[in-house]
Symmetry: C2
Amino acid sequence: MKNFEFYSPTKVIFGKDILSQLGTTIRLYGKKVLLVYGKNSIKATGLYEKVTALCRDAGISLIEYSGVEPNPKLPHAEAGAKMAVEAHIEVILAVGGGSVIDEAKAIAAGACYKGSLWDLYSHKAPIKEALPVIAVQTLPATSSETNQVSVLTNPDTLEKFGARSPHIVPRVAFLDPSLTFTIPLQYTAYASFDIMSHLLEGYFTSTDPFAPVQDGFVEGMVKAVIKGFKKVQVNLQDWDARASIMWAGALAWNGLCNAGVEGAVIPNHMLEHPLSALYDVAHGAGLAILFPVWLRYRKETIIPRILQFGRNILDMEDEIEGLSDTNACDTIISRFADFIRSMGCPSSIAEAGIENPDIPELVRQARTLCGLWGINGYTDKDLETLYRMAL
Amino acid sequence: MKNFEFYSPTKVIFGKDILSQLGTTIRLYGKKVLLVYGKNSIKATGLYEKVTALCRDAGISLIEYSGVEPNPKLPHAEAGAKMAVEAHIEVILAVGGGSVIDEAKAIAAGACYKGSLWDLYSHKAPIKEALPVIAVQTLPATSSETNQVSVLTNPDTLEKFGARSPHIVPRVAFLDPSLTFTIPLQYTAYASFDIMSHLLEGYFTSTDPFAPVQDGFVEGMVKAVIKGFKKVQVNLQDWDARASIMWAGALAWNGLCNAGVEGAVIPNHMLEHPLSALYDVAHGAGLAILFPVWLRYRKETIIPRILQFGRNILDMEDEIEGLSDTNACDTIISRFADFIRSMGCPSSIAEAGIENPDIPELVRQARTLCGLWGINGYTDKDLETLYRMAL
């Protein structure tokens, strides 16, 4: 284990009917509130009506800022920050999934920063201050509701970069699993795979000789997400299954699982960010395409970790007994790829509807992310091969 | 899963040489500091010199308050709170194990409360305010460094009660595994078993039909503590093993593992608190004595959980194959008891040096705790039988 800091100070309020506490909770931080949300889904489900009524009843002055897109865009966040400043907003209330919460964090930080918001994402300036963010999570996937991270896409440069600061961690996260009942199976698959990818990238790249606490967290949570997803496939409104996915979604990427793990990096996110920055593909779908490709390409360097994954997560001890390590790894990776397909995720870039992607640009962006995220060992040729294998 | 709140806002600073950050960290909260510690151990290890020098170098005005006992006592905490008020203390710095941190929290709360400190522990009044606490953990066991709990013993009534409040969560916890190198093997065993007991009591009493995230956390962490302890048995200064036990110790009882788990209660702590309140037995040793007794007594009511424990934590799938559930449970409990003995923990009250314990008083106190902690299903006869089985 190596040195680390862990700080996830969000108060999580989890369960049924918890939104009744929304008004009083917001009032602890202020009463001029910017409600940030996406497009129509929270109106279609009735959540919009519920949230606005609860705020009204609590005497909260609510200004709305809607239109957050998946892979949220810099100009929209900039305009939101401008609005927050002009309206003397005291609290940012995010109602939606990871994209909405990420953009709410950007608005919260942007409202307290005089320069260009992109400075905070392109590592030109640190976030030193932000308005308080409160999150109502509707699409658990990114742990944005409990973590220090916000990811934005700059449409001018087509770059998708993240900012990181303790100032933007949501103060309170409302997690009501019943709000996720309406997520279609396909998007539940993408979100679940995003959670699994957050957990497994550090697990596969770990070079730690002994980190059983962290390995155990990952193994337990990945198995929980797999079990939960299988139950959701049977019943979209399975409360316990939705609850387990939601709780795993909040913890998978809040810093807990990778804390102190030597070597842990996120190569699959490094490969995926350029794809969803350049093309309109769901982040979780992109991750699902690239993960088995990455495993096949890097197999020889991570044999013990793939074997541990096969044994402890996929319960393949009996099936791989007697096989050579290489054959065992191939068997495990194939089983994983089969499972990903069975979730309903695409297994190639073509299957995601992207034809003739701009591989040099994908490589260029991935290269930048390797630098920003401290991921070593990938030449441009490696990156190109990985994208070609995923076509 | 049932509704829950989870809030563990402590900033954890973990690893080698982290104490270099102590002075600047304390200064974020104030410069008049009460240093709370136990007896001589931090002087013997040189930690006292180090901490006081670091504080001096950071311009901190340090007042010392030593003499915290294992199972810390109310009058000592009351006197500490009085001293903190009189000296206009701004920050409580705890350097020690769970007892020291628990008493530091009591002092922090007591300094902000006008009535009798025992009010806050006997559920007569809630903690509404407390001075900030910063913890340097030296004996990981209770998660006091990251949780809302403080336990005190009242020597007048010989009651051992806990207070719980978000106001007493340490703001920052310094976790340097090398500070635990000097813990003798016997006390490492008690501390490790305390961690395991925190994890396993909720696991065994869970009636949740589906909580795989929480089950996975417990399974992973208990296995990690077992692996870590076995490495420490070989080498007291095994950094990775000490680090894993320390990290598990910080997370086992901070609310994460039981969050939302239906039915989860802590019967073994309910049985143990009276024992270490009445007799001078280490808390972890008391837990080690009582846990197998409790499992044998309640076996029939928790068969599926014992089987899951045997399979997923002790890896006994092959050994219990073909056995009846009852025989399988007996085999698993025996293996667990053997492991506890192999740790060097006592396996009866007599072995802990206690002769003719006052069973009616133990039962009376356990009865009170059943009420305070919401533990149902134990008659006085049950409690008496449990204590007698442990003699």
